[in-house]
């Protein structure tokens, strides 16, 4: 629920041009090796 409320405040909104929620994964299943895996990456989180 919370993530969609935040997305709706941004210029791109939910940005779901494909099937609705097709981008959603379990929080440990986003692509391995993704530069931004984790709550965030490099600069903002230790």
């Amino acid at each position: 629920m919370g993530a969609f409320m935040w997305l709706e405040l941004t210029p791109k909104g939910r940005n779901e041009l494909g099937a609705v929620k097709s981008w959603v994964k379990l929080n440990d299943e986003y692509e391995t090796g993704d530069k931004h895996k984790g709550d965030c990456c490099c600069a903002l989180v230790r």
Binding site: G2, M5, W6, T10, P11, K12, K25, A43, L44
Partner: protein
């Protein structure tokens, strides 16, 4: 409601776990940035209990926002060491940086000067209002284009941020609702999650 975009011309400096960061750095490789203005003044010993209630609701979602081209961070004026200690106490993982020494909080109308506090009023939530605290809550959204130009695209404050508090949405579904009548102020019942 869409708001006019405003180019951010001023340079702001923040401190994160790895040192100094600019506003552009906070985007962390994405084009959209959401800032939660977390009330935690430089001389406070702990973060605001109501903002902590909001944080319990948004902790854990930045990874999902990241995959819609959004970086999320909280920003407070407290020095980074205080932020880091409080974040550890609360067990949170979301990004949170310090704007200590920067005009950022003042320019986005969530922190107030000693003169404004002495006067008892300041511009907040799109109007001049009575104020008592040095810092208030809010949400601001920014966009960075291909040329690296940053734009402020949205802000809301006060009870405008209720819309991103999932616990309130759930309470609004039950028979008693928020059940906040009879308090001296609506969120009087809220505690930090380690203080119930």
């Amino acid at each position: 409601m869409a708001m006019p975009w405003e180019r951010v011309e001023k340079s702001y400096q923040f401190e994160g776990p790895n040192g100094a960061l600019s506003l552009a750095d906070l985007f962390d490789g994405r084009s959209q940035l959401i800032v939660y203005h977390f009330m935690f003044g430089p001389d406070w010993e702990e973060g605001c209990k109501s903002c902590s209630f909001w944080a319990d609701n948004f902790n854990g979602i930045p990874i999902h926002l990241n995959h819609r081209d959004v970086t999320f961070t909280a920003v407070s004026r407290a020095p980074f060491a205080k932020i880091d200690a409080y974040k550890k106490r609360m067990g949170w993982s979301f990004p949170w940086v310090s704007s200590y020494g920067s005009d950022f909080n003042f320019d986005y109308h969530v922190s107030f000067t000693p003169e404004q506090i002495a006067e008892g009023k300041a511009y907040y939530n799109y109007a001049v209002r009575p104020i008592t605290a040095s810092d208030e809550q809010g949400v601001s959204v920014f966009y960075k284009n291909e040329n690296g130009e940053v734009f402020h695209t949205y802000s809301c404050h006060g009870r405008g941020i209720d819309m991103v508090n999932g616990a309130y949405h759930f309470l609004d579904l039950v028979r008693k609702g928020r059940d906040e009548d009879g308090f001296s102020f609506s969120m009087e019942w809220v505690r930090r999650h380690d203080q119930y």
